[in-house]
């Protein structure tokens, strides 16, 4: 009952943002059909691609207003209450107060300055979870009009223009963001996003990975090679993930939630 109410809240907030959805997915989410993820780095024992079962993904990143509803309902996640173990000092620092957004945090802009722990707690509160790296990257690999985003020059132009811009003081609303072929929007252009397994991005891709010290720090099954060195944005995401700790929060890092399909719909073709 309570979670239904929470869901309703989230629905209303999203509805205000004018998100139009034609899927049978929960409101504000899109159903991502089963597909595959081609990891950026693979060790010799890894397969070239990983199957990703169908799942639901939030159409847009979580907004300040949505996150405010969460901290209103969960006092331990308010800025002045949160444990330093779960969020660092920059947690929600762009908000005016514990329960006040202010001009640096427009209500329908993606929330930033959130830690992995906080993002996870938000998702749990709504009966959702964070997407895995495989899920997130599988969706981000799609173009606006073609299934392989790498072949979509318009999409790539947008990505590179975004990467070239410094992070603005005020993150703009993503409500007008163009959907990709899978229906997800604002996967780039606004904020970077947490994934549930951010801390699996290890030796892979870090420049220090080849040093003797690093080999000693990790027990692994061998050297790891990059599959495709031309996907610059994916490398940046990978480098970001491996640089993060779970209590960190930054001015350009937000998140969106995912959910498993209900068993009944998971079996549909």
């Amino acid at each position: 009952m309570i979670s239904r109410f929470r869901h309703l809240l989230a629905t209303i907030t999203l509805g205000l943002m004018g998100a139009g959805i034609n899927h049978a997915a929960p409101t504000g989410m899109v159903e991502i059909p089963a597909g595959e993820y081609v990891p950026l780095f693979t060790s010799p024992v890894d397969p070239a691609s990983v199957p990703v079962p169908a799942f639901y993904l939030d159409e847009l990143p979580v907004t300040n207003a949505q996150f405010l509803a969460f901290v209103q309902a969960n006092p331990k996640w308010r800025r002045s209450n949160v444990s330093p173990l779960f969020a660092d000092q920059s947690y929600l620092k762009h908000w005016v107060g514990d329960l006040e957004l202010g001009s640096l945090a427009p209500s329908d802009s993606p929330v930033v300055h959130v830690s992995w722990f906080a993002a996870r707690a938000y998702a749990k509160w709504l009966g959702k979870r964070l997407p895995t790296t495989a899920e997130w990257e599988r969706v981000a690999a799609a173009g606006y009009t073609v299934s392989n985003g790498r072949e979509d020059t318009e999409l790539n132009g947008d990505i590179y223009r975004w990467l070239a811009r410094p992070t603005p003081n005020v993150i703009p609303s993503a409500s007008e963001a163009r959907p990709n072929q899978l229906g997800a929007r604002a996967l780039f252009g606004y904020v970077w996003e947490w994934v549930s397994d951010f801390n699996t991005a290890m030796v892979t891709g870090e420049s220090r990975a080849d040093s003797g010290l690093e080999r000693d720090l990790f027990c692994g099954s061998g050297s790891v090679g990059a599959r495709d060195t031309s996907d610059y944005a994916a490398f940046m995401r990978s480098a970001l993930r491996s640089s993060l700790q779970a209590h960190n929060s930054t001015s350009s890092l937000g998140f969106r939630c995912a959910r498993d399909l209900e068993p009944s719909s998971a079996t549909s073709p």
Binding site: L85, W116, N199, C219, S221
Partner: protein
């Protein structure tokens, strides 16, 4: 038969240290006092120990703790880590040694069942001060995030992982981490002694 012997051995070994009645050492910190802001015992995830009992990390409150994440079928680093924990323990004074908890939490949520962990303990003849914990994927990932441990399941079922030995004080705060497989045991032992004044 082996399991039966193990159970008897465990019962015998457990009673003075971590049986149902708390040892004198552990009554020192009041369990009801609020946890400190940096206490890992705020983690509300539940694990299962190798006796099949549900435990939270807060169970170790009041004791100095050496905590390492590992997996039982690991052929390279994990045996070294367990060996290092043994050596750290040997460097302690008898008082600290007797109350320290040596905790191993497995990454391998599928294969390292409580039974598998009991077998691991049995094969290495590790006494009741060693605690083996199995958790679900959520619990393991939250604990790893708190400790700063990175890990990844490989396609062959093995895990790549940080080699990190963490020392917690009586309040459950991280007071030292030994990163890697080389050296640092003396410092870790000293941290443990300092954590148990």
């Amino acid at each position: 038969m082996k399991r039966l012997l193990l159970s008897i051995g465990l019962l015998a070994a457990l009673s003075p240290v971590s049986g149902e009645e708390p040892a004198a050492c552990c009554a020192a910190v009041e369990e009801t006092a609020p946890l400190s802001a940096r206490s890992l015992y705020q983690l509300d995830a539940t694990f299962t120990n190798d006796r099949g009992k549900a435990v939270s990390l807060a169970e170790f409150r009041g004791r100095p703790v050496v905590l390492t994440m590992f997996f039982a079928s690991c052929g390279y680093a994990c045996p070294l880590l367990v060996g290092d924990m043994t050596r750290i323990r040997e460097m302690l004074s008898s008082e600290v040694r007797d109350e320290a908890a040596l905790v191993l939490v497995s990454f391998d949520t599928e294969r390292d069942t409580p039974d598998a962990l009991a077998k691991y303990r049995d094969e290495r003849d590790l006494d009741a001060q060693w605690h083996f914990l199995h958790g679900n994927a959520d619990a393991v990932s939250e604990l790893a995030a708190l400790l700063g441990v990175k890990y990844r399941k490989e396609a062959n079922g093995m895990f790549s992982h940080s080699n990190l030995i963490t020392v917690l004080n009586r309040k459950g705060e991280i007071v030292h981490q030994r990163n890697g497989l080389q050296g640092g045991l003396e410092e870790t032992a000293q941290a443990l002694i300092a954590a148990a004044p």
